[in-house]
């Protein structure tokens, strides 16, 4: 399964890119498992807080991903 990830704010600084395409092996994958995978790829993610949107809607961690989903990693911004 191929998914598209998009990174915002501090998350984009950690991944050093705005987006990427990920090839996921195996069967079904939940948002929670994707988070684990990402935090493995980018350990600094563990130190931050962020919410995840799938196809422009915020989702719970139990949600399962589908082929070609667009996954946004959204941290709260502090600045004002």
């Amino acid at each position: 399964m191929i998914i598209n990830t998009k990174y915002f704010g501090l998350i984009a600084d950690i991944t050093n890119k705005k987006e990427e395409k990920l090839q996921l092996d195996g069967g079904k994958m939940s948002v929670a498992s994707l988070k684990l995978l990402m935090e493995n790829n980018y350990p600094d993610l563990k130190k931050t807080t962020y919410s995840i949107a799938v196809n422009q809607t915020m989702v719970e961690e139990e949600t399962f991903l589908n082929e070609q989903d667009i996954i946004a990693f959204l941290p709260p911004f502090a600045g004002g």
Binding site: G9, T48, T49, S51, M58, P76, F77, A78, G79, G80
Partner: protein
């Protein structure tokens, strides 16, 4: 004449302008976001605007905080902002709070307002605003920025989701950096503040689709905007409400003294004790710092008092002293207590 160009919009009209005049909006933070919000709401004729900020103007603010100029460096942001916007539009009544929004003043500050605009720069304060706003059911117009990006949304609008529904708090996470640390292009908060002002006006006028349950993301470098939908989360709303009620009760605890705390506190040298029972009541407590000021005379009497002084009020039952406490707080006194159940609850002074 001043509002003609917006009154001729059928969506606004005279009725809309009256709604703006009657509206009460609290702007928390008078920095990058707060300045454009204040300017736009003032120009639009919002009738009553509160501005909260404990900071002073610094030179490094001037590239983005357009209410201020170099002559204001070192002065209170809340005071200068209030002064500048008062000159912009004399129709608008302005109240400035020269203090940071914190757990101690949060509850009493928000109760007077219909809408809160979150223009702060710290995540912890954003959660605090959320919790008191959920508790009092006040809509919050939120924006925040990070380098070239911004977020806008509206919380607690018609039972809609809150800030915690969007970003649940994660314990033990490092502070999210603000502009001071990360840098910001001056125009960015002005763009986002204008979006916030737009949502405030829409809420007051009851027009258009308010950004409730929607997070707008803006990227200035790519000129890219998108909207993310999010839902109400009952657990997060409950958590906010509980936090809010804890703050509310903490406030009660702080202000309302029981017998022992009262006896302890009136012995302190730096407090003023006011006996607000009816005139001609026999003196009960004698001391250099104790004055008999019947409630009816309190308003006149307190004009001559130092508003930063700690004041303790008592009466027979706690009712007059509670009214006195509210009166003194309205007059700007910051530290006021009263004997909750009155002097009749104090064994030592029972008749």
């Amino acid at each position: 004449m001043r509002y003609n160009r917006q009154i001729i919009l059928p969506e606004v009209g005279d009725i809309g302008q009256q709604k703006l005049r009657k509206a009460r909006v609290l702007v928390i933070g008078a920095g990058g976001l707060g300045c454009p919000v204040l300017q736009n709401l003032t120009a639009a004729g919002v009738g009553y605007i509160g501005v909260v900020d404990g900071d002073v103007v610094e030179e490094s603010n001037l590239h983005r905080q357009l209410l201020y100029n170099h002559k204001h460096i070192g002065q209170s942001k809340a005071a200068v902002a209030a002064e500048v916007i008062a000159e912009m539009n004399p129709d608008v009544e302005i109240k400035s709070y020269k203090q940071f929004f914190n757990r101690k003043n949060a509850m009493e500050t928000v109760v007077d307002y219909d809408i809160i605009v979150d223009c702060t720069d710290t995540i912890a304060v954003r959660y605090l605003i959320n919790d008191v706003a959920v508790y009092h059911k006040i809509p919050v117009v939120y924006a925040s920025i990070y380098r070239f990006e911004g977020q806008v949304s509206v919380f607690n609008y018609n039972n809609g989701p809150c800030y915690r529904c969007l970003f649940p708090e994660k314990e033990g996470v490092q502070q999210t950096p603000n502009c001071e640390v990360m840098g910001v292009l001056g125009v960015l908060p002005n763009t986002l503040g204008a979006f916030q002002a737009t949502e405030v006006l829409k809420i007051i006028l009851g027009i258009g689709d308010v950004l409730s349950g929607k997070l707008m993301l803006y990227d200035a470098l790519q000129f890219h905007t998108q909207i993310i939908n999010y839902a109400r989360n009952a657990k997060q709303i409950e958590k906010s409400y509980i936090n809010g009620s804890l703050l509310y009760n903490q406030k009660q605890e702080l202000e309302e003294l029981d017998e022992n705390t009262f006896l302890e506190k009136i012995k302190q040298k730096n407090v003023i004790v006011l006996d607000v029972r009816q005139a001609n009541s026999p003196a009960l407590i004698v001391g250099e710092n104790v004055m008999q000021v019947p409630l009816e005379k309190l308003e006149t009497y307190c004009q001559a008092m130092d508003k930063s002084a700690a004041v303790i009020l008592f009466c027979n039952t706690g009712q007059r002293s509670l009214m006195g406490l509210e009166l003194l707080k309205k007059q700007g006194f910051e530290t006021v207590f009263h004997l909750e159940k009155g002097i009749q609850s104090v064994e030592k002074y029972k008749e």
